[in-house]
């Protein structure tokens, strides 16, 4: 069971209040009309799936209903940091 700190509510809440929304920091191609099929496919379908540190988007769905980012270890499940949308992670994978 995760006990997640919501940076908007400034409180720890139980996992059930949240939804995991997958990889964070996905940038939409600047010029979608001129993307190759490969670029567009990569944007829509290909996600990082690291064994280790992962930056992901979470949604406080039954709380403040705001989005925020989490850096989490996908093996130990330990949450390393929580930060708001638009901010950059402090904890990043080496190499």
């Amino acid at each position: 069971m995760f006990y997640i700190y919501c940076p908007h509510c400034r409180e720890h809440r139980e996992e059930e209040e949240f939804h995991a929304k997958g990889q964070a920091h996905i940038a939409r191609p600047a010029d979608p009309d001129n993307c190759t099929d490969e670029e567009w496919g990569n944007y829509v379908f290909f996600r990082k799936n690291p064994r280790g540190l992962h930056h992901e988007l979470w949604y406080h769905s039954t709380g403040c209903r705001k989005f925020f980012n989490v850096t989490r270890d996908t093996v130990s499940y330990e949450i390393k940091e929580v930060y708001k949308i638009g901010e950059q992670p402090q904890v990043v994978a080496k190499g």
Partner: protein, 417 residues
């Protein structure tokens, strides 16, 4: 290979069952093979077996980092069915179903395949419309299926609460009589023994740590225990670790690894002689021959490699089961575990050639790979033998995520597998 038979059982009883031949050898790997299969789970072992049996390629090694069938093959809920909506998926799973039907005889190994039928319940009007659409699609593809109303469901499972005043009343179900369950470990062991009898080397406790790629073609793999092993072709059947394997080969797969949990109860007297699945309340349950209830549900929403899941998911699963079977509310759960499933964006597998020549991947089975084990191995063996995709595997190319030819089984197939 010593054949198993009733007579053999009698003969070995005279020597107190102490002289059974080992089911497979534990060989030292050779320097080079025609084909290396990375991953000794059900699908990998089935691939090796059909490579030897149907294509005469016996100079094959299966390299497994743990023990045979110790990953998701040992962790699933053993349900076998083929009632998928889309033609491509239906043909693939029905191919597997036909192989299941003769598998115990073929392998001379009792995989305890029991065609006790699978019910996919509908709780809303939309559920019932989807069920009708899916059953009609199944029948057009030659797959057995019936649409049942509440009374029909109640006749098959008398102890399920089908009363109209439930929060989620059972309005009906799709019913596939040929579907059922099989003994998951026996499938891996049967394929392992079969492959070994053709001379396939099963290398256990040996991890592939890198791939040896020259001029855009794979020529071998680096292992942690036996050094470099060369091969003409390599097939990766590594389920949850496929993304890691693809990274070694220098490309990416559209897979995300999630924990999927299951649990079994204490053994109780026979009370459920079929498989009940519900997409809407999201749970599925069957009873094993030993008497324990085998229960599963959906994946945890976040990515994870931890082979364990979260407690809220267990709670939701059991809520669903108790909703259907209130009398199970006092049954105690015995064990709970999690496996790592490699889910694709369209919930269909990848059986495909790759940007690296002579390297093939069979992965992305997500939450529903067990039912396909023989079919997956069969078409992947043909793919490896010929160097191009088997006709049934062709739609499952990894390049579909760039050309847009997805097979959108999400939510279309019975339950989240």
């Amino acid at each position: 290979m010593q054949r198993y038979s009733g007579f053999g059982l009698l003969k070995h009883s005279l020597s107190y069952h102490e002289n059974w031949q080992r089911a497979w050898r534990n060989p030292k790997p050779k320097k080079k093979y025609d084909v290396i299969i990375v991953g000794g789970g059900g699908h990998g072992l089935a691939t090796a077996y059909y490579l030897a049996k149907e294509h005469g390629i016996t100079n094959v090694a299966v390299i497994e980092k743990g023990h045979l069938g110790g990953g998701n093959t040992a962790r699933n809920t053993t349900i076998v069915r083929s009632n998928y909506l889309w033609d491509e998926a239906a043909h693939l799973y029905e191919h597997a179903m036909k192989l299941w039907e003769g598998l115990s005889q073929d392998l001379n190994y009792n995989v305890m395949f029991s065609q006790r039928g699978v019910l996919n319940l509908g709780h809303t009007l939309q559920d019932m419309r989807d069920i009708q659409r899916r059953v009609n699609a199944n029948r057009l593809n030659g797959i057995d299926g019936e649409v049942l109303d509440t009374k029909g469901v109640q006749e098959i499972v008398p102890n399920m609460d089908c009363s109209a005043n439930r929060r989620y009343p059972v309005l009906g179900a799709s019913w596939q009589p040929r579907a059922g369950v099989a003994r998951h470990d026996a499938v891996a062991w049967g394929f392992a023994r079969g492959a070994d009898s053709y001379g396939v080397d099963l290398i256990q406790q040996c991890e592939v740590v890198d791939m040896i790629i020259e001029d855009g073609a794979i020529v071998g793999v680096k292992t942690n225990r036996h050094g470099d092993i060369m091969a003409d072709r390599v097939g990766c059947v590594t389920a949850g670790n496929s993304g890691v394997m693809a990274k070694m080969a220098g490309f990416e797969l559209p897979l995300e690894s999630h924990p999927l949990q299951a649990l079994v109860s204490e053994p109780i007297k026979p009370c459920l002689d079929t498989v009940v699945m519900s997409n809407h309340v999201h749970g599925y349950v069957s009873q094993s021959d030993k008497g324990d209830l085998v229960i599963g549900a959906g994946i945890d929403g976040y990515n994870g490699y931890g082979q364990r899941g979260s407690y809220p998911t267990i709670e939701h699963t059991l809520q669903a089961i108790v909703e259907l079977f209130p009398q199970f509310s006092r049954v105690r759960m015995n064990r709970q575990w999690g496996g790592i499933v490699d889910t694709c964006p369209d919930a269909c597998p990848i059986i495909s050639d790759t940007p690296v020549e002579n390297l093939f991947f069979n992965c992305g089975w997500g939450t529903g790979g067990f039912k396909a084990t023989p079919g997956s191995g069969n078409v992947f063996a043909a793919t490896l033998a010929k160097g191009e995709a088997h006709p049934l595997a062709k739609p499952f190319s990894m390049f579909r995520f760039h050309n847009g030819a997805l097979i959108d089984e999400h939510g279309a197939a019975g339950v989240a597998h």
